[in-house]
Subunit: 301 residues, 2 copies
Amino acid sequence: MEKNKVITAKLGIDVGGTDVKFAVIDNGEIVCRSKIPSNRESVEKILQEICDECRKIAEVYPYKSVGAGFPGVIYDGLLNTDNLPFKETPIIEEMENRLGVPVAADNDANCAALGEVLYGSGKAYHNAVVLTLGTGIGGGIIIDNEIFRGRGGAGELGHMVIQSENGLPCACGRTGCFEQYASTRALVRQATEAAKENPDSILGVIYQENEDMNGKLFFEAIHKNCPVAEAVFDHYLDWLSIGIKNLQMIFDPEVFLLAGGVTKEGDNFLKPLMAKLDGKINVKIAELQSDAGVFGAASLN
Amino acid sequence: MEKNKVITAKLGIDVGGTDVKFAVIDNGEIVCRSKIPSNRESVEKILQEICDECRKIAEVYPYKSVGAGFPGVIYDGLLNTDNLPFKETPIIEEMENRLGVPVAADNDANCAALGEVLYGSGKAYHNAVVLTLGTGIGGGIIIDNEIFRGRGGAGELGHMVIQSENGLPCACGRTGCFEQYASTRALVRQATEAAKENPDSILGVIYQENEDMNGKLFFEAIHKNCPVAEAVFDHYLDWLSIGIKNLQMIFDPEVFLLAGGVTKEGDNFLKPLMAKLDGKINVKIAELQSDAGVFGAASLN
Protein backbone atom coordinates (compact mmCIF):
# COMPACT_ATOMS: atom_id res chain seq x y z
CA MET A 1 0.00 0.00 0.00
CA GLU A 2 2.99 2.36 -0.55
CA LYS A 3 1.60 3.49 -3.88
CA ASN A 4 1.98 7.18 -3.25
CA LYS A 5 5.24 7.14 -1.33
CA VAL A 6 7.07 10.43 -1.95
CA ILE A 7 10.56 9.96 -3.31
CA THR A 8 13.05 12.20 -1.52
CA ALA A 9 16.32 10.59 -2.64
CA LYS A 10 18.63 12.23 -5.18
CA LEU A 11 21.35 10.65 -7.29
CA GLY A 12 24.78 12.28 -7.31
CA ILE A 13 27.39 11.42 -9.95
CA ASP A 14 31.07 12.32 -9.84
CA VAL A 15 32.59 11.86 -13.28
CA GLY A 16 36.37 11.57 -13.12
CA GLY A 17 39.08 10.78 -15.63
CA THR A 18 39.46 7.23 -14.24
CA ASP A 19 36.06 6.28 -12.89
CA VAL A 20 32.53 7.50 -12.45
CA LYS A 21 31.09 7.34 -8.92
CA PHE A 22 27.37 7.15 -8.19
CA ALA A 23 25.64 7.65 -4.86
CA VAL A 24 22.00 7.95 -3.90
CA ILE A 25 21.65 10.46 -1.06
CA ASP A 26 18.60 10.31 1.16
CA ASN A 27 18.15 12.28 4.39
CA GLY A 28 21.74 13.48 4.13
CA GLU A 29 23.22 9.99 3.92
CA ILE A 30 24.56 7.78 1.17
CA VAL A 31 22.04 4.93 0.94
CA CYS A 32 23.37 3.25 -2.20
CA ARG A 33 26.62 3.59 -4.15
CA SER A 34 28.42 2.21 -7.17
CA LYS A 35 31.30 2.89 -9.53
CA ILE A 36 32.10 2.23 -13.20
CA PRO A 37 35.30 2.90 -15.16
CA SER A 38 35.28 6.12 -17.22
CA ASN A 39 34.88 5.38 -20.88
CA ARG A 40 37.14 7.74 -22.79
CA GLU A 41 36.26 6.56 -26.30
CA SER A 42 33.41 8.88 -27.18
CA VAL A 43 30.74 11.12 -25.71
CA GLU A 44 28.10 8.68 -26.87
CA LYS A 45 29.77 5.72 -25.14
CA ILE A 46 30.36 7.49 -21.84
CA LEU A 47 26.82 8.91 -21.75
CA GLN A 48 25.35 5.53 -22.55
CA GLU A 49 27.32 3.79 -19.79
CA ILE A 50 26.52 6.48 -17.23
CA CYS A 51 22.81 6.39 -18.06
CA ASP A 52 22.71 2.58 -18.01
CA GLU A 53 24.15 2.67 -14.50
CA CYS A 54 21.63 5.34 -13.47
CA ARG A 55 18.78 3.10 -14.62
CA LYS A 56 20.17 0.09 -12.75
CA ILE A 57 20.42 2.17 -9.58
CA ALA A 58 16.83 3.44 -9.99
CA GLU A 59 15.61 -0.16 -9.79
CA VAL A 60 17.32 -0.61 -6.44
CA TYR A 61 16.72 2.84 -4.98
CA PRO A 62 14.42 5.23 -6.84
CA TYR A 63 15.52 8.89 -6.90
CA LYS A 64 13.76 12.05 -7.98
CA SER A 65 16.64 13.88 -9.67
CA VAL A 66 20.21 13.53 -10.89
CA GLY A 67 23.16 15.88 -10.40
CA ALA A 68 26.52 15.31 -12.03
CA GLY A 69 29.98 16.82 -11.62
CA PHE A 70 32.34 16.83 -14.60
CA PRO A 71 36.04 17.67 -14.86
CA GLY A 72 35.38 20.67 -17.07
CA VAL A 73 33.47 23.89 -17.53
CA ILE A 74 29.80 24.30 -18.39
CA TYR A 75 28.87 27.56 -20.13
CA ASP A 76 25.27 28.05 -21.22
CA GLY A 77 24.55 24.37 -20.64
CA LEU A 78 27.43 23.24 -22.88
CA LEU A 79 30.13 21.03 -21.38
CA ASN A 80 33.79 21.07 -22.35
CA THR A 81 36.36 18.83 -20.68
CA ASP A 82 40.11 18.36 -20.98
CA ASN A 83 40.43 14.76 -19.79
CA LEU A 84 37.26 13.39 -21.37
CA PRO A 85 35.95 13.80 -24.93
CA PHE A 86 33.10 16.27 -24.16
CA LYS A 87 33.11 19.22 -26.56
CA GLU A 88 30.25 21.73 -26.48
CA THR A 89 28.03 18.87 -25.29
CA PRO A 90 24.52 19.95 -24.18
CA ILE A 91 25.00 17.66 -21.21
CA ILE A 92 21.89 18.43 -19.19
CA GLU A 93 19.56 18.07 -22.17
CA GLU A 94 21.27 14.84 -23.26
CA MET A 95 20.93 13.25 -19.83
CA GLU A 96 17.37 14.45 -19.21
CA ASN A 97 16.26 13.00 -22.55
CA ARG A 98 17.73 9.64 -21.64
CA LEU A 99 16.72 9.49 -17.97
CA GLY A 100 13.38 11.28 -17.81
CA VAL A 101 14.15 13.00 -14.47
CA PRO A 102 15.48 16.52 -13.81
CA VAL A 103 19.26 16.69 -14.31
CA ALA A 104 21.72 19.35 -13.17
CA ALA A 105 25.45 19.47 -13.89
CA ASP A 106 28.44 21.47 -12.78
CA ASN A 107 32.20 21.44 -12.54
CA ASP A 108 33.48 18.66 -10.25
CA ALA A 109 35.45 20.98 -7.95
CA ASN A 110 32.32 23.11 -7.50
CA CYS A 111 30.32 20.00 -6.60
CA ALA A 112 32.94 18.88 -4.09
CA ALA A 113 32.92 22.34 -2.52
CA LEU A 114 29.14 22.38 -2.22
CA GLY A 115 29.06 18.87 -0.78
CA GLU A 116 31.69 19.66 1.83
CA VAL A 117 29.85 22.83 2.94
CA LEU A 118 26.38 21.27 3.03
CA TYR A 119 27.27 17.87 4.50
CA GLY A 120 30.91 17.86 5.61
CA SER A 121 33.24 19.93 7.76
CA GLY A 122 31.65 23.14 6.49
CA LYS A 123 28.19 22.29 7.84
CA ALA A 124 28.29 25.11 10.40
CA TYR A 125 29.03 27.71 7.68
CA HIS A 126 27.35 29.26 4.66
CA ASN A 127 30.32 31.03 3.07
CA ALA A 128 33.46 29.07 2.32
CA VAL A 129 36.41 28.74 0.00
CA VAL A 130 37.25 25.10 -0.70
CA LEU A 131 40.64 24.04 -2.03
CA THR A 132 41.34 20.49 -3.18
CA LEU A 133 45.08 19.96 -3.18
CA GLY A 134 45.58 17.16 -5.66
CA THR A 135 47.27 16.92 -9.07
CA GLY A 136 46.31 20.57 -9.37
CA ILE A 137 44.33 22.76 -7.01
CA GLY A 138 40.58 22.56 -7.51
CA GLY A 139 38.70 25.51 -6.16
CA GLY A 140 35.13 26.10 -5.14
CA ILE A 141 33.53 29.24 -3.79
CA ILE A 142 30.36 28.84 -1.76
CA ILE A 143 28.33 31.97 -1.00
CA ASP A 144 25.13 31.62 1.03
CA ASN A 145 25.26 27.84 0.58
CA GLU A 146 25.37 28.11 -3.21
CA ILE A 147 28.14 27.66 -5.75
CA PHE A 148 29.45 30.99 -7.01
CA ARG A 149 29.93 30.60 -10.76
CA GLY A 150 30.30 34.10 -12.18
CA ARG A 151 29.50 33.77 -15.87
CA GLY A 152 30.18 30.02 -15.50
CA GLY A 153 33.93 29.72 -15.09
CA ALA A 154 34.57 31.24 -11.65
CA GLY A 155 36.50 29.43 -8.94
CA GLU A 156 39.60 28.44 -10.92
CA LEU A 157 41.62 29.20 -7.81
CA GLY A 158 44.54 26.94 -8.73
CA HIS A 159 45.31 29.23 -11.66
CA MET A 160 45.75 32.37 -9.61
CA VAL A 161 49.31 33.46 -10.40
CA ILE A 162 51.35 33.96 -7.22
CA GLN A 163 54.77 34.15 -8.87
CA SER A 164 54.68 36.39 -11.94
CA GLU A 165 58.37 36.58 -12.77
CA ASN A 166 60.39 33.37 -13.01
CA GLY A 167 57.27 31.37 -12.23
CA LEU A 168 56.93 27.68 -12.98
CA PRO A 169 55.10 26.88 -16.23
CA CYS A 170 51.53 25.58 -15.94
CA ALA A 171 49.46 23.49 -18.35
CA CYS A 172 47.03 26.41 -18.59
CA GLY A 173 49.64 28.40 -20.50
CA ARG A 174 50.47 30.89 -17.77
CA THR A 175 53.44 30.72 -15.40
CA GLY A 176 53.53 30.92 -11.63
CA CYS A 177 50.07 29.44 -10.95
CA PHE A 178 49.22 28.62 -7.32
CA GLU A 179 48.80 24.92 -8.12
CA GLN A 180 52.39 24.66 -9.37
CA TYR A 181 53.54 25.43 -5.82
CA ALA A 182 50.89 24.22 -3.42
CA SER A 183 49.14 21.14 -4.89
CA THR A 184 49.94 17.69 -3.54
CA ARG A 185 51.76 17.00 -6.80
CA ALA A 186 53.88 20.12 -6.26
CA LEU A 187 54.86 18.93 -2.78
CA VAL A 188 55.85 15.54 -4.17
CA ARG A 189 57.93 17.28 -6.85
CA GLN A 190 59.62 19.50 -4.24
CA ALA A 191 60.27 16.41 -2.08
CA THR A 192 61.74 14.47 -5.01
CA GLU A 193 64.12 17.31 -5.85
CA ALA A 194 65.26 17.60 -2.23
CA ALA A 195 65.69 13.82 -1.95
CA LYS A 196 67.92 13.79 -5.03
CA GLU A 197 69.95 16.73 -3.75
CA ASN A 198 70.32 15.17 -0.30
CA PRO A 199 70.76 11.44 -0.90
CA ASP A 200 72.05 10.83 2.65
CA SER A 201 69.07 12.45 4.37
CA ILE A 202 66.23 10.33 5.76
CA LEU A 203 64.09 11.63 2.86
CA GLY A 204 66.85 10.75 0.38
CA VAL A 205 67.17 7.21 1.74
CA ILE A 206 63.40 6.66 1.67
CA TYR A 207 63.38 7.83 -1.94
CA GLN A 208 66.15 5.41 -2.94
CA GLU A 209 64.71 2.46 -1.06
CA ASN A 210 61.27 2.91 -2.63
CA GLU A 211 62.49 4.19 -5.99
CA ASP A 212 59.53 6.50 -5.69
CA MET A 213 58.18 9.56 -3.91
CA ASN A 214 54.60 10.26 -2.86
CA GLY A 215 52.76 12.00 -0.05
CA LYS A 216 52.84 8.97 2.21
CA LEU A 217 56.61 8.48 1.82
CA PHE A 218 57.22 12.18 2.31
CA PHE A 219 55.31 12.25 5.60
CA GLU A 220 57.20 9.12 6.69
CA ALA A 221 60.34 11.29 6.55
CA ILE A 222 58.53 14.10 8.39
CA HIS A 223 57.51 11.71 11.16
CA LYS A 224 61.14 10.62 11.45
CA ASN A 225 62.06 14.30 11.94
CA CYS A 226 64.14 14.50 8.76
CA PRO A 227 65.43 18.11 8.59
CA VAL A 228 65.50 18.04 4.77
CA ALA A 229 61.84 16.98 4.63
CA GLU A 230 60.96 19.56 7.28
CA ALA A 231 62.57 22.33 5.22
CA VAL A 232 60.66 21.20 2.11
CA PHE A 233 57.39 21.13 4.08
CA ASP A 234 58.04 24.55 5.61
CA HIS A 235 58.64 26.09 2.20
CA TYR A 236 55.60 24.30 0.75
CA LEU A 237 53.44 25.71 3.55
CA ASP A 238 54.78 29.20 2.76
CA TRP A 239 53.43 28.85 -0.77
CA LEU A 240 50.13 27.41 0.37
CA SER A 241 49.65 30.15 2.96
CA ILE A 242 50.36 32.87 0.38
CA GLY A 243 47.49 31.58 -1.74
CA ILE A 244 45.18 31.22 1.25
CA LYS A 245 46.00 34.76 2.43
CA ASN A 246 45.26 36.08 -1.05
CA LEU A 247 41.87 34.39 -1.02
CA GLN A 248 41.29 35.70 2.50
CA MET A 249 41.89 39.28 1.25
CA ILE A 250 39.57 38.66 -1.69
CA PHE A 251 36.69 36.72 -0.05
CA ASP A 252 37.07 37.04 3.74
CA PRO A 253 35.11 33.77 4.04
CA GLU A 254 33.84 32.20 7.25
CA VAL A 255 36.04 29.19 6.63
CA PHE A 256 38.56 27.62 4.28
CA LEU A 257 38.07 23.90 3.73
CA LEU A 258 41.07 21.93 2.50
CA ALA A 259 40.80 18.54 0.83
CA GLY A 260 43.01 16.21 -1.17
CA GLY A 261 46.17 14.10 -0.76
CA VAL A 262 48.29 16.04 1.75
CA THR A 263 45.36 16.95 3.98
CA LYS A 264 44.93 13.29 4.94
CA GLU A 265 47.78 13.90 7.39
CA GLY A 266 45.22 15.74 9.55
CA ASP A 267 46.66 17.81 12.38
CA ASN A 268 50.24 17.13 11.25
CA PHE A 269 49.30 19.16 8.21
CA LEU A 270 46.87 21.66 9.69
CA LYS A 271 48.81 22.81 12.76
CA PRO A 272 51.98 23.99 10.99
CA LEU A 273 49.80 25.61 8.30
CA MET A 274 47.78 27.52 10.90
CA ALA A 275 51.02 28.76 12.46
CA LYS A 276 51.75 30.53 9.16
CA LEU A 277 48.33 32.15 8.94
CA ASP A 278 46.76 35.09 10.72
CA GLY A 279 44.62 33.90 13.65
CA LYS A 280 41.55 35.43 11.96
CA ILE A 281 41.75 32.88 9.16
CA ASN A 282 39.65 29.80 9.90
CA VAL A 283 40.87 26.63 8.18
CA LYS A 284 39.47 23.12 8.47
CA ILE A 285 40.26 19.85 6.79
CA ALA A 286 37.49 18.39 4.67
CA GLU A 287 35.66 15.47 6.23
CA LEU A 288 33.97 13.92 3.22
CA GLN A 289 37.08 14.11 1.04
CA SER A 290 36.41 12.03 -2.09
CA ASP A 291 32.71 11.60 -1.25
CA ALA A 292 32.16 15.38 -1.31
CA GLY A 293 31.64 15.31 -5.09
CA VAL A 294 28.61 12.98 -5.07
CA PHE A 295 27.05 14.83 -2.12
CA GLY A 296 27.45 18.18 -3.88
CA ALA A 297 26.29 16.84 -7.25
CA ALA A 298 23.13 15.40 -5.69
CA SER A 299 22.48 18.80 -4.09
CA LEU A 300 22.61 20.71 -7.39
CA ASN A 301 18.86 20.42 -7.87
CA MET B 1 0.07 72.45 -0.85
CA GLU B 2 3.10 70.14 -1.07
CA LYS B 3 2.69 69.06 2.54
CA ASN B 4 2.93 65.35 1.89
CA LYS B 5 5.55 65.40 -0.80
CA VAL B 6 7.47 62.12 -0.68
CA ILE B 7 11.21 62.58 -0.31
CA THR B 8 13.10 60.31 -2.70
CA ALA B 9 16.56 61.91 -2.51
CA LYS B 10 19.48 60.25 -0.68
CA LEU B 11 22.67 61.81 0.61
CA GLY B 12 25.97 60.16 -0.29
CA ILE B 13 29.20 61.00 1.54
CA ASP B 14 32.70 60.07 0.46
CA VAL B 15 35.10 60.53 3.36
CA GLY B 16 38.69 60.78 2.17
CA GLY B 17 41.99 61.53 3.86
CA THR B 18 42.01 65.06 2.39
CA ASP B 19 38.39 66.08 2.01
CA VAL B 20 34.86 64.89 2.53
CA LYS B 21 32.53 65.04 -0.45
CA PHE B 22 28.75 65.27 -0.16
CA ALA B 23 26.18 64.78 -2.90
CA VAL B 24 22.41 64.52 -2.85
CA ILE B 25 21.29 61.99 -5.45
CA ASP B 26 17.76 62.17 -6.79
CA ASN B 27 16.45 60.21 -9.76
CA GLY B 28 19.96 58.97 -10.46
CA GLU B 29 21.47 62.43 -10.70
CA ILE B 30 23.51 64.64 -8.40
CA VAL B 31 21.18 67.53 -7.54
CA CYS B 32 23.31 69.18 -4.89
CA ARG B 33 26.97 68.83 -3.88
CA SER B 34 29.53 70.21 -1.45
CA LYS B 35 32.94 69.49 0.05
CA ILE B 36 34.70 70.16 3.35
CA PRO B 37 38.31 69.46 4.37
CA SER B 38 38.80 66.25 6.38
CA ASN B 39 39.43 67.01 10.00
CA ARG B 40 42.12 64.62 11.24
CA GLU B 41 42.20 65.81 14.88
CA SER B 42 39.67 63.53 16.48
CA VAL B 43 36.70 61.32 15.79
CA GLU B 44 34.46 63.79 17.62
CA LYS B 45 35.62 66.73 15.47
CA ILE B 46 35.30 64.94 12.15
CA LEU B 47 31.86 63.55 13.04
CA GLN B 48 30.69 66.97 14.20
CA GLU B 49 31.85 68.68 11.00
CA ILE B 50 30.37 65.98 8.77
CA CYS B 51 27.01 66.10 10.56
CA ASP B 52 26.94 69.93 10.53
CA GLU B 53 27.37 69.81 6.77
CA CYS B 54 24.65 67.15 6.48
CA ARG B 55 22.24 69.44 8.33
CA LYS B 56 23.10 72.41 6.12
CA ILE B 57 22.47 70.32 3.02
CA ALA B 58 19.11 69.10 4.39
CA GLU B 59 17.91 72.70 4.51
CA VAL B 60 18.69 73.12 0.81
CA TYR B 61 17.67 69.68 -0.41
CA PRO B 62 15.92 67.31 2.02
CA TYR B 63 16.95 63.64 1.82
CA LYS B 64 15.54 60.48 3.35
CA SER B 65 18.75 58.63 4.18
CA VAL B 66 22.51 58.97 4.40
CA GLY B 67 25.20 56.61 3.15
CA ALA B 68 28.89 57.13 3.79
CA GLY B 69 32.10 55.59 2.48
CA PHE B 70 35.17 55.57 4.71
CA PRO B 71 38.81 54.68 3.97
CA GLY B 72 38.74 51.70 6.29
CA VAL B 73 37.01 48.51 7.26
CA ILE B 74 33.70 48.12 9.08
CA TYR B 75 33.25 44.89 11.03
CA ASP B 76 30.06 44.43 13.06
CA GLY B 77 29.26 48.12 12.68
CA LEU B 78 32.66 49.21 14.05
CA LEU B 79 34.84 51.41 11.84
CA ASN B 80 38.64 51.32 11.80
CA THR B 81 40.67 53.55 9.48
CA ASP B 82 44.37 53.96 8.76
CA ASN B 83 44.38 57.55 7.52
CA LEU B 84 41.77 58.98 9.88
CA PRO B 85 41.47 58.58 13.67
CA PHE B 86 38.48 56.15 13.70
CA LYS B 87 39.13 53.18 16.02
CA GLU B 88 36.33 50.72 16.77
CA THR B 89 33.89 53.59 16.18
CA PRO B 90 30.20 52.54 16.05
CA ILE B 91 29.89 54.83 13.06
CA ILE B 92 26.33 54.08 11.96
CA GLU B 93 24.91 54.47 15.46
CA GLU B 94 26.85 57.71 16.04
CA MET B 95 25.62 59.27 12.82
CA GLU B 96 22.02 58.11 13.19
CA ASN B 97 21.88 59.58 16.70
CA ARG B 98 23.07 62.92 15.39
CA LEU B 99 21.11 63.04 12.15
CA GLY B 100 17.84 61.30 12.89
CA VAL B 101 17.66 59.58 9.49
CA PRO B 102 18.73 56.03 8.51
CA VAL B 103 22.50 55.83 7.97
CA ALA B 104 24.54 53.16 6.22
CA ALA B 105 28.31 53.00 5.91
CA ASP B 106 30.90 50.96 4.04
CA ASN B 107 34.45 50.95 2.81
CA ASP B 108 35.09 53.71 0.24
CA ALA B 109 36.34 51.38 -2.49
CA ASN B 110 33.20 49.27 -2.07
CA CYS B 111 31.05 52.40 -2.41
CA ALA B 112 32.91 53.50 -5.54
CA ALA B 113 32.43 50.03 -7.03
CA LEU B 114 28.71 50.01 -6.30
CA GLY B 115 28.26 53.54 -7.68
CA GLU B 116 30.09 52.72 -10.89
CA VAL B 117 28.00 49.57 -11.46
CA LEU B 118 24.64 51.16 -10.63
CA TYR B 119 25.14 54.55 -12.28
CA GLY B 120 28.33 54.51 -14.32
CA SER B 121 29.98 52.43 -17.02
CA GLY B 122 28.77 49.23 -15.35
CA LYS B 123 25.08 50.11 -15.73
CA ALA B 124 24.45 47.30 -18.20
CA TYR B 125 25.88 44.70 -15.78
CA HIS B 126 25.07 43.17 -12.41
CA ASN B 127 28.34 41.38 -11.69
CA ALA B 128 31.59 43.29 -11.81
CA VAL B 129 35.05 43.60 -10.37
CA VAL B 130 36.08 47.23 -9.94
CA LEU B 131 39.72 48.26 -9.58
CA THR B 132 40.73 51.80 -8.66
CA LEU B 133 44.35 52.30 -9.68
CA GLY B 134 45.52 55.12 -7.42
CA THR B 135 48.08 55.31 -4.61
CA GLY B 136 47.19 51.69 -4.03
CA ILE B 137 44.62 49.50 -5.77
CA GLY B 138 41.16 49.74 -4.29
CA GLY B 139 38.95 46.80 -5.06
CA GLY B 140 35.24 46.24 -5.08
CA ILE B 141 33.30 43.12 -5.94
CA ILE B 142 29.71 43.55 -7.05
CA ILE B 143 27.51 40.44 -7.22
CA ASP B 144 23.88 40.82 -8.30
CA ASN B 145 24.15 44.61 -7.91
CA GLU B 146 25.31 44.35 -4.31
CA ILE B 147 28.66 44.77 -2.62
CA PHE B 148 30.23 41.43 -1.75
CA ARG B 149 31.72 41.80 1.75
CA GLY B 150 32.41 38.28 3.01
CA ARG B 151 32.62 38.61 6.80
CA GLY B 152 33.23 42.35 6.25
CA GLY B 153 36.73 42.64 4.86
CA ALA B 154 36.40 41.12 1.36
CA GLY B 155 37.55 42.92 -1.78
CA GLU B 156 41.08 43.87 -0.72
CA LEU B 157 42.18 43.09 -4.25
CA GLY B 158 45.25 45.33 -4.15
CA HIS B 159 46.78 43.03 -1.54
CA MET B 160 46.61 39.88 -3.61
CA VAL B 161 50.23 38.75 -3.83
CA ILE B 162 51.32 38.23 -7.43
CA GLN B 163 55.08 38.01 -6.78
CA SER B 164 55.80 35.77 -3.80
CA GLU B 165 59.57 35.54 -4.01
CA ASN B 166 61.62 38.72 -4.32
CA GLY B 167 58.42 40.76 -4.23
CA LEU B 168 58.32 44.47 -3.41
CA PRO B 169 57.45 45.27 0.22
CA CYS B 170 53.94 46.59 0.88
CA ALA B 171 52.63 48.72 3.76
CA CYS B 172 50.30 45.82 4.65
CA GLY B 173 53.31 43.81 5.79
CA ARG B 174 53.38 41.29 2.96
CA THR B 175 55.59 41.44 -0.13
CA GLY B 176 54.66 41.27 -3.79
CA CYS B 177 51.16 42.78 -3.50
CA PHE B 178 49.36 43.59 -6.77
CA GLU B 179 49.23 47.31 -5.91
CA GLN B 180 53.01 47.52 -5.67
CA TYR B 181 53.14 46.74 -9.39
CA ALA B 182 49.96 47.99 -10.99
CA SER B 183 48.71 51.08 -9.12
CA THR B 184 49.14 54.52 -10.64
CA ARG B 185 51.81 55.20 -8.00
CA ALA B 186 53.64 52.04 -9.09
CA LEU B 187 53.65 53.23 -12.71
CA VAL B 188 55.03 56.61 -11.65
CA ARG B 189 57.75 54.87 -9.63
CA GLN B 190 58.61 52.62 -12.58
CA ALA B 191 58.70 55.69 -14.85
CA THR B 192 60.94 57.62 -12.45
CA GLU B 193 63.42 54.74 -12.27
CA ALA B 194 63.54 54.45 -16.05
CA ALA B 195 63.92 58.24 -16.46
CA LYS B 196 66.90 58.23 -14.11
CA GLU B 197 68.50 55.27 -15.87
CA ASN B 198 67.91 56.82 -19.30
CA PRO B 199 68.54 60.56 -18.86
CA ASP B 200 68.84 61.14 -22.64
CA SER B 201 65.50 59.55 -23.47
CA ILE B 202 62.39 61.69 -24.03
CA LEU B 203 61.11 60.42 -20.66
CA GLY B 204 64.46 61.29 -19.03
CA VAL B 205 64.44 64.83 -20.46
CA ILE B 206 60.82 65.41 -19.35
CA TYR B 207 61.77 64.23 -15.87
CA GLN B 208 64.73 66.61 -15.66
CA GLU B 209 62.85 69.60 -17.10
CA ASN B 210 59.98 69.20 -14.66
CA GLU B 211 62.05 67.90 -11.77
CA ASP B 212 59.09 65.62 -11.24
CA MET B 213 57.26 62.56 -12.55
CA ASN B 214 53.53 61.92 -12.60
CA GLY B 215 50.97 60.20 -14.78
CA LYS B 216 50.48 63.22 -17.01
CA LEU B 217 54.22 63.68 -17.67
CA PHE B 218 54.63 59.97 -18.28
CA PHE B 219 51.89 59.91 -20.92
CA GLU B 220 53.45 63.02 -22.52
CA ALA B 221 56.49 60.82 -23.20
CA ILE B 222 54.24 58.03 -24.48
CA HIS B 223 52.52 60.42 -26.89
CA LYS B 224 55.96 61.46 -28.16
CA ASN B 225 56.68 57.77 -28.86
CA CYS B 226 59.53 57.55 -26.36
CA PRO B 227 60.78 53.93 -26.54
CA VAL B 228 61.88 54.01 -22.88
CA ALA B 229 58.41 55.11 -21.75
CA GLU B 230 56.82 52.52 -24.04
CA ALA B 231 58.90 49.74 -22.49
CA VAL B 232 57.88 50.91 -19.00
CA PHE B 233 54.23 50.99 -20.01
CA ASP B 234 54.40 47.58 -21.63
CA HIS B 235 55.89 46.03 -18.50
CA TYR B 236 53.38 47.86 -16.29
CA LEU B 237 50.52 46.46 -18.41
CA ASP B 238 51.98 42.97 -17.99
CA TRP B 239 51.65 43.32 -14.23
CA LEU B 240 48.18 44.79 -14.45
CA SER B 241 46.99 42.08 -16.79
CA ILE B 242 48.34 39.34 -14.49
CA GLY B 243 46.16 40.67 -11.69
CA ILE B 244 43.13 41.04 -13.94
CA LYS B 245 43.58 37.51 -15.30
CA ASN B 246 43.79 36.18 -11.73
CA LEU B 247 40.53 37.90 -10.85
CA GLN B 248 39.00 36.59 -14.08
CA MET B 249 39.89 33.02 -13.05
CA ILE B 250 38.47 33.65 -9.59
CA PHE B 251 35.27 35.61 -10.38
CA ASP B 252 34.61 35.29 -14.12
CA PRO B 253 32.67 38.59 -13.89
CA GLU B 254 30.60 40.18 -16.65
CA VAL B 255 32.90 43.16 -16.66
CA PHE B 256 35.99 44.70 -15.09
CA LEU B 257 35.69 48.43 -14.43
CA LEU B 258 38.93 50.37 -14.05
CA ALA B 259 39.15 53.76 -12.39
CA GLY B 260 41.85 56.07 -11.07
CA GLY B 261 44.78 58.17 -12.32
CA VAL B 262 46.14 56.20 -15.27
CA THR B 263 42.72 55.32 -16.65
CA LYS B 264 42.06 58.98 -17.47
CA GLU B 265 44.13 58.33 -20.61
CA GLY B 266 41.07 56.51 -21.98
CA ASP B 267 41.68 54.43 -25.08
CA ASN B 268 45.43 55.08 -24.96
CA PHE B 269 45.33 53.07 -21.77
CA LEU B 270 42.57 50.59 -22.54
CA LYS B 271 43.60 49.42 -26.01
CA PRO B 272 47.12 48.21 -25.17
CA LEU B 273 45.75 46.61 -22.00
CA MET B 274 43.06 44.72 -23.95
CA ALA B 275 45.76 43.45 -26.31
CA LYS B 276 47.34 41.67 -23.33
CA LEU B 277 44.08 40.07 -22.20
CA ASP B 278 42.07 37.15 -23.48
CA GLY B 279 39.23 38.36 -25.71
CA LYS B 280 36.71 36.88 -23.28
CA ILE B 281 37.68 39.43 -20.63
CA ASN B 282 35.49 42.51 -20.79
CA VAL B 283 37.16 45.66 -19.47
CA LYS B 284 35.76 49.19 -19.37
CA ILE B 285 37.02 52.45 -17.98
CA ALA B 286 34.93 53.94 -15.18
CA GLU B 287 32.78 56.89 -16.22
CA LEU B 288 31.98 58.45 -12.87
CA GLN B 289 35.55 58.21 -11.60
CA SER B 290 35.76 60.30 -8.42
CA ASP B 291 31.97 60.75 -8.25
CA ALA B 292 31.43 57.00 -8.02
CA GLY B 293 31.95 57.08 -4.24
CA VAL B 294 29.05 59.42 -3.46
CA PHE B 295 26.74 57.59 -5.88
CA GLY B 296 27.57 54.25 -4.27
CA ALA B 297 27.37 55.60 -0.71
CA ALA B 298 23.92 57.06 -1.38
CA SER B 299 22.84 53.66 -2.73
CA LEU B 300 23.84 51.76 0.43
CA ASN B 301 20.36 52.07 1.88
